[in-house]
Amino acid sequence: MNGYGDPSLKVESGGEGKLLSRLDLEEHRQWVLEKKSRALESKLTSIKEAVAKYVGEGSYLVLGGFGHVRSPMAAVYEIIRQGKAGLDVNAHPGCHDIDLLAAAGCIRRVDRAYGGGHEVRGLSPAFRRAVEAGEIEVVEWSNAALAWRFKAAAMGLPFLPCRVMIGTDTFRHSAAKIVSCPFTGVKICLVPACYPDVAFIQVHRCDIYGNAQIDGTTVEDIDIARASRRVVLITEEIVATDRIRDTPWRTTIPHYLVDAVVKIPWGAHPTNMPYLYYFDEEHIAEWLRMAKTVEGAQDYLGKYVRGVGGFNSYLELVGGARKLSYLKRLELYQVPLRTPWAEG
C-alpha cells in the first residue's frame, strides 16, 4: 500500500457516447495476418482507385495531419466526388478537411476532439450547420484522448489509462470509463483503442512500396498508420528505396503498414505542407465566404471539387503556377502573409 486507497480495478463511471470504431483485438490480428502485405511490392495507384477500393459505405475514416496542416485534401475531394456517405470520421482535430466533408453530406457521426472550427479564422460554417441541425452525431473527446486511443491501437491493446477528461461533460459524452487503478487506487480514465477502417496520410516523400518520411511534426500519424486497417499515403514525391535506406531512422511510416501510394504534389492544398507550402488563405477565405449559406457551399463544391477533372485542373483553378510559387515563398518567409478573412 502506498497511501492511495483500495487497490482494486473497479469501473466507477462510463461515458454515454457510442464507441464508433472497431474494438476486437483478435479480429485485428487476423486482419493483419491475412490482409497486410509484408513484401516490398509496388502500391502505386490513383486517388480515384484508392478511394473507390478502401472507403466503403459507413467506413470509419481518419485523415492525417492536423485538420488544416498536412491534410490529405486530394483524398477529401475524391471522397466527395465519389459521393461516399454515412462515414464515421475522427476529428482529432478536424478543420478544413471535415468542414468540406460535412458540406458534401459524407459524415454520419464524428469522434471529435476539435471539429467545427478553423482556429483563428472562425467557426466552420458547414460542419456547424450540420451539427446544429442534428445531422451529425458527435461523440466528444480531447486531443490527447484521441492521440492515446490511436496509440493504444498502435500497440495492439484495447485501451490506455490517462488523466484527461475526468470530471467533465467531455467525459460524459465520450465512450471512456473511469476506474480506480489496481496498483495505486487513484481514479484514472480509460480510453478505448481506436482502430480506424481507413486512413489517408499526406507525406513529403516515400518509395513505391510506401516507406515514408514526414518532415516536421508527425502529430498522430505514426500511430494512426499503425492503428488503421487500410493506409493510403498521398505523397509529394516518390523517391528511390535507396534514399530511404540511407537514413532509416527518418522513416516515419514503414511499407508493411501501407496499402496504397498515390503521388499528388500539392495534394494538401489549401492546407499547410511544412517546408513546402503555407496555407492558401485567399482560397480558405473564399470557402469561408461561400460556405456561409447551404447554396454557397454547394456552389463551392461544384466549382472546386465535383466539377474538376483532376488535381492539376484544380491547381490551375485556384491560381496555377503563380499562386503555388507564392505559397512556397510564403512558407519560406520570403513574402508577407495576407489574411483576407481578417480584413472584413
Binding site: 476539435y114 446544429e132 441541425a133 480531447s142 492521440a147 475526468i166 467531455t170 511534426t217 518567409y333
Partner: protein, 258 residues
C-alpha cells in the same frame, strides 16, 4: 506619458506578464499564442513554449495561424508528436497552460463545446481540442477571455475543460493531478484569480480606467473581490511596439480599433 492602446492589447500584455522566465507553457490557439511570444520577447527569453501538435521550443519569427502549422516548430528543439507534448504535460513538465473559451463559471470550468443542449445545440462550438488536456494536466492554467456577462456565467452549458469543478478538493477527488488547476483569468477589463479556500473566482487587479463596479457588472455571477484590488500597469511603449510591429504586425489576433 503612455501611448494609447486598446483593451485587447492590454489583455495580451497582461497575459504575457503572468508567464515566468525559465518555465514552460503549453499554448492554445488565438491570443494565447500572442501572449506566449510576447512574454518570450519582453521578459522571458528562457520560456519553453510547447504546441499540442508536437512543436517544442520554437524560435517564432512570425505568428502561427494554427497550433499545428510550420511556424510552431520553426527552428524548434523538437518537431515531435502530440503524444510527446501531452505526455510531458501528464508527467508534470508543463508549468503553465494557456486557454480560451466561450463560457466560464465561478470555479473556472470552461465551455468550448456548445451553447444549448448537446444533441441539438443552439450554437455548436469546436469542442475541447487540447483544452481539456491543458486544463487537466498543466500545473497552472491561465484563461484568456473577453469579459462579458454572457460569458461569465453561474453555470456553463457544458463543462468542456475542468476548472475546480464543484469547488475545493473536487479536482483531486475526481482523479485529476494534485496541485493543478486554474490560476489566472485574464480579460479585457481585469486580472482575476481564485480564492484559496473557496476556489471561486476573485478579482485581483483592474486595468487603468476600469472600476471594480464595471468588472462586477460584466460578470454574471457573484465575484469575490480581493481585499486589496491592484492596478495593472499600463503597457509600455516598447511592449506595444513589440506587439504591433513584431508579434502581430497585421493585427490578425489583436485587432486595431480603427
Amino acid at each position: 506619458m503612455t501611448e494609447a492602446y486598446t483593451p485587447v492589447e492590454m489583455m495580451a500584455i497582461a497575459a504575457a506578464r503572468t508567464l515566468e522566465n525559465g518555465r514552460s507553457v503549453l499554448v492554445g490557439t488565438g491570443l494565447p499564442m500572442i501572449a506566449a511570444i510576447l512574454a518570450q520577447r519582453i521578459h522571458a527569453p528562457n520560456l519553453l513554449i510547447a504546441f499540442e501538435a508536437g512543436g517544442i521550443g520554437p524560435v517564432l519569427p512570425t505568428l502561427p495561424l494554427s497550433v499545428g502549422d510550420s511556424r510552431t516548430f520553426h527552428r524548434a528543439i523538437l518537431a515531435g508528436t502530440m503524444c510527446d507534448v501531452m505526455e510531458a504535460a501528464q508527467s508534470g513538465y508543463l508549468d503553465y497552460g494557456f486557454l480560451g473559451g466561450a463560457q466560464i463559471d465561478p470555479y473556472g470550468n470552461l465551455n468550448s463545446t456548445c451553447i444549448g443542449p448537446h444533441a441539438k445545440p443552439k450554437v455548436s462550438l469546436p469542442g475541447s481540442g487540447g483544452g481539456n488536456d491543458v486544463g487537466s494536466l498543466c500545473w497552472r492554467t491561465i484563461i484568456i477571455m473577453s469579459h462579458e456577462k454572457r460569458r461569465f456565467v453561474d453555470r456553463v452549458d457544458f463543462i468542456t475543460t475542468p476548472g475546480y469543478l464543484d469547488g475545493p478538493g473536487s479536482r483531486e477527488a475526481a482523479g485529476l493531478p494534485r496541485g493543478s488547476g486554474p490560476y489566472r483569468v485574464i480579460t479585457d477589463l481585469a486580472v482575476l484569480g481564485f480564492e484559496e479556500n473557496s476556489k471561486r473566482m476573485m478579482l485581483l487587479s483592474t486595468y487603468p480606467g476600469v472600476t471594480v463596479e464595471q468588472v462586477m457588472q460584466n460578470t454574471g455571477f457573484e465575484l469575490k473581490v480581493s481585499a486589496k484590488v491592484g492596478a495593472v500597469e499600463p503597457p509600455t511603449r516598447e511592449q506595444l511596439r513589440l506587439l504591433r510591429e513584431e508579434v502581430d504586425p497585421t493585427g490578425i489576433f489583436v485587432k486595431r480599433k480603427r
